[in-house]
């Protein structure tokens, strides 16, 4: 059984960051149309990421000696919340700031830290994560991309797929097999930092159903990796991949993916006086859900800050959060079609179309709904 989460609040010192962030966003984001802002953390704009870097807001949680701001997870929570609420294009630096940087900080050598972290903080190094393969999805331990040790380094062969931003990134941190066979499952997996400019790396963007090319297939043919491409322990890849999952599953990005659509709809309700009784009640319902989810997300973050690893609670936040994110476009399709004699603004409809189309990905990325529910069941002692 799980125990109840105590309510928590974001410390005042971290909240103090919010006004400056909001002022910056008010200046840089309103010109972007809502259907573009609806891309949320999938919106790519390297220039915007560098502007954030210039404010010192990339690598907020990295130590100062590596170019970071030396702040805690709640400072980043505030930043991310405001970025996503505004629909700022954060995708360029997102993975480096959220996953790759913290991974390098935790498991990297001093040389790896000194090389990569300052570049991430300056918005010069963008990262992607190589997990899925053509035959490996939820069953991540079945990866077959293989790094074979040889004189002076490693020889890499295989392929990764659905890799977000691979074609925009400088580096990939990939989970690959460095010993044993697929039957060895979690054993024999390692993580490598792969310079994507190396010979033998072929990146083919895959067009998504919204017309974007946010993910790619990346093929490795006899790519020669230097000795120091290995990050962390050889054979320790599985544990390393799992170490950060609670952070990745309980943050604002698991609740706010459809918030640009929600706020665009609210804007229309206000401007047009379009709020009939059903729309008003739906608005209230969505606000209530958002309030509860945010309280859960903040409470889980507080546990993480205290050094606990609330993996099951985080899975719970992600599953509920993505359900909320998916409910918004589903419910608004009904609302915006409730009165056939009324044509909602085209920008709102474009925002709805994009969000409706991409919403299924919310419960795929970062662990599918079924996998998460399996984790919760294990937490409840059912398996």
């Amino acid at each position: 059984m799980l125990t109840a989460l105590p309510l928590s609040t974001i410390p005042a010192a971290d909240e103090a960051l919010r006004p400056a962030i909001r002022a910056f966003l008010a200046e840089h984001v309103p010109g972007i149309p809502p259907e573009i802002r609806a891309r949320s953390w999938m919106g790519f704009d390297a220039g915007f990421s560098r502007a954030l870097a210039a404010k010192g807001w990339l690598g907020l949680t990295f130590p100062k000696e590596y170019g970071g701001a030396g702040l805690g997870p709640f400072a980043r929570y505030v930043l991310v919340e405001e970025l996503l609420a505004a629909g700022a294009p954060v995708s360029a630096h997102w993975i480096a700031d959220r996953q790759s940087g913290p991974l390098i900080l935790r498991f990297g050598t001093e040389a790896q830290r000194r090389f990569h972290l300052p570049r991430i903080c300056r918005g010069e190094s963008f990262f992607c994560i190589g997990m899925s393969e053509p035959d490996t999805g939820s069953d991540l331990a079945s990866v077959s991309t293989r790094a074979v040790r040889e004189e002076g380094g490693w020889r890499l062969n295989g392929a990764k797929i659905w890799t977000t931003n691979a074609h925009h990134s400088h580096y990939m941190i990939a989970l690959v097999r460095s010993s044993g066979t697929a039957q060895d499952r979690h054993k024999g997996l390692s993580q490598f930092i792969i310079d994507l400019s190396l010979p033998g790396v072929t990146i083919s963007p895959i067009r998504d159903l919204a017309g974007d090319a946010h993910f790619s297939e990346v093929v490795f043919r006899d790519v020669l990796l230097p000795e120091d491409a290995l990050i962390g322990e050889e054979g320790g890849g599985w544990a390393q991949v799992n170490a950060e999952l609670a952070f990745e599953r309980s943050g604002p990005e698991r609740v706010l993916s459809s918030v640009v659509l929600l706020d665009a709809w609210i804007g229309w309700l206000r401007a047009e006086g379009a709020a009939d009784a059903q729309s008003t009640a739906l608005l209230g319902r969505l606000l209530g859900h958002l309030a509860v989810l945010r309280a859960m997300s903040v409470a889980v973050t507080d546990r993480l800050v205290r050094g606990e690893s609330p993996v099951v609670e985080a899975a719970l936040v992600k599953d509920l959060g993505t359900e909320f994110e998916q409910a918004i476009p589903a419910l608004l399709e009904d609302r915006l079609g409730a009165d056939p004699a009324r044509e909602p603004p085209a920008a709102l409809l474009r925002t709805l179309a994009y969000t409706s189309a991409m919403a299924p990905s919310y419960s795929l990325r970062g662990g599918t709904r079924e996998i998460l529910r399996g984790m919760i069941a294990r937490g409840m002692g059912l398996r």
């Binding site: 059984m1 997870p73 609210i266 209530g288």
Partner: protein
């Protein structure tokens, strides 16, 4: 004393009391129309009903957030008592400098019209009913009420006249009653989850526990999510609002969000619990219906989802906020901890 420790001690003593006195058999007897006096006396003796009464007036001086564990425990036992209502009514009486009569006080949902009519539930132990009226809530004796109508959701009581009944200043008693109701519902849901997990690991089909089947696991996971959300919602609803103008400082916006969220959770949780229990859960013998019944009745009392969702949506639109998240931060989040040092957040 440390707040968390107080919380735990109170939760523990409440859990022990209800485990001893509100056994499923005792609850069934009361629901069947039997006397609730013994159970109520135990609650009264423990001081729970005076939890929100200021210390200078002889109470424990707790806030709703401190008293929440008691109501959760009562909900876990499905205790059919007007405990939350009594807590709130006594606090309001004491704060208004009025005499607090002995005996339980049931909160009524006022029915409009000239007549003094209101709907009450689980009022078996109540000697008094607090009936909100234009101009203030009236404290009316149950003994002088006539029964108009009754259903599992409540009994409609009517008084010929208010006589010289004490009148409390006007306050949002609808929200107060919703808080008492949602707290019991959140507690009941935690119990349902435990019972369902236990049943799923004991009941065997196809040669193994039904908990071993993914289809069952996934349903119980969904239920777990709702139960967790309900618990957090109840905690949020127990926090004071900005002005602190509600009964015992309660805040209508937080309660609106929580009552609606918990009502939504309740119907899913009850449905899954029954699905997992199979035909056994439909029998009178199995206790599950004590808790699922509380959920169904609770949804309807003091405003169901439709009522509170509409209220909250209208409240948002009355203001000028453009962003949903900004509204949630301003109105529906725990108050900021001004004095917590930032160093605590550094890992």
């Amino acid at each position: 004393m440390d707040a968390v420790v107080t919380d735990d001690l109170l939760a523990q003593s409440a859990a022990e009391l209800f485990a001893r006195h509100a056994t499923p058999a005792a609850v069934r007897a009361i629901l069947g129309g039997g006397p609730a006096g013994v159970l109520w006396s135990a609650v009264e003796e423990a001081g729970f009903a005076d939890a929100l009464v200021p210390e200078e007036a002889g109470g424990a001086g707790l806030g709703p957030a401190d008293a929440l564990p008691v109501l959760l425990a009562a909900g876990r036992a499905a205790a059919p008592l007007p405990l939350g209502g009594t807590m709130l009514a006594r606090a309001a009486l004491a704060r208004a400098g009025m005499a607090v009569p002995s005996g339980a006080i049931a909160l009524a949902e006022a029915l409009p019209g000239e007549a003094l009519r209101g709907r009450v539930a689980a009022h078996g132990a109540a000697e008094w009913v607090l009936l909100p009226r234009p101009g203030g809530a009236r404290l009316l004796p149950v003994a002088e009420a006539e029964r108009d109508d009754a259903s599992p959701y409540g009994t409609v009581l009517r008084w010929a006249s208010a006589g010289n009944a004490p009148t409390l200043p006007e306050a949002d008693w609808m929200a107060a009653g919703a808080w008492a109701t949602l707290a019991a519902m959140a507690g009941a849901m935690e119990r349902i989850l435990e019972e369902t997990v236990r049943y799923a690991t004991e009941r065997r089909q196809f040669g193994r526990a039904i908990a071993a089947f993914q289809a069952v696991q996934q349903q119980i996971s969904v239920m777990t999510e709702d139960v967790f959300a309900a618990r957090i919602a109840a905690q949020l609803a127990s926090l004071p609002g900005e002005g602190g103008t509600g009964v015992a400082g309660l805040d209508t916006a937080r309660i609106a969000a929580a009552k609606a969220r918990i009502g939504e959770a309740a119907s899913r949780v009850a449905g899954i619990a029954h699905a997992v229990h199979g035909a056994m859960g439909i029998t009178a013998e199995v206790d599950l219906h004590l808790w699922t019944g509380l959920l169904h009745r609770g949804r309807l009392r003091f405003g169901a989802e439709s009522h509170w969702n509409a209220w909250l949506g209208a409240e948002f639109l009355r203001g000028a906020e453009a962003q949903s998240l900004a509204f949630v931060r301003a109105r529906l989040a725990p108050p900021l901890a001004e004095n917590r040092p930032a160093e605590e957040t550094t890992p």
